[in-house]
Amino acid sequence: MSTQPLRDLLERAFPDATELDIVDRTGGGDHFQVVVTAPSLSGLSLVEQHRRVYEALSAPLGDGTIHELRIKTKGAS
């Protein structure tokens, strides 16, 4: 899959995001790295921040579209 559907899901889950970066790490459409910076993540532990990203991408994670996902999150803008 291209990065756009992932961007759409993340934009919906993090409407306040100041940074959304999605990289197809291998060009194969199944190994992705996402960077999310959003004030709504502030004050959450890294585990909770990553959980929010997993929840946002639960559909492509669940059906195997995403084979591998690297996550980087930041709370402050």
Partner: protein, 119 residues
């Protein structure tokens, strides 16, 4: 049969539990290796569990932890995260700090590694 009780027992009874693909001597996944190496560099004594022998192990683990991916690292029963978080904590110095806070100042004194087979 169910693995849930065995999984919980490893999580609760291990200082540092690493659920991974493969074993420390034969790692089957790059992300599992990233977590393992970061823990080794931090001096942690790792209890490793291979999730590959039965897909049900992974399903039941994720039901317990609420974490969808492998690897998963627990310190004293608490989920610390996956490979990305463990590496990030290492870079900020918070990994050693977490280990020290939960396991005591001498946590790295007798570093060892063991593998627990669930299946």
């Amino acid at each position: 049969m169910s693995y849930t009780d065995k999984i919980k027992d490893v999580i609760e009874s291990s200082d540092v539990a690493l659920f991974m693909k493969g074993t420390p001597s034969f790692v089957m996944c790059g992300n599992s290796d990233r977590a393992l190496q970061a823990l080794r560099r931090a001096g942690a004594s790792v209890t490793a569990v291979d999730v590959l022998p039965d897909p049900q192990i992974r399903q039941e683990l994720s039901a317990i932890s609420g974490w969808p991916t492998i690897p998963q690292v627990f310190v004293k029963g608490e989920l610390v995260g996956g490979a990305d978080i463990v590496e990030e904590l290492e870079q900020t110095g918070d990994l050693a700090e977490t280990l020290r806070a939960k396991l005591g100042d001498d946590y790295a004194a007798a570093q060892d590694e063991k593998t627990v087979a669930l299946a």
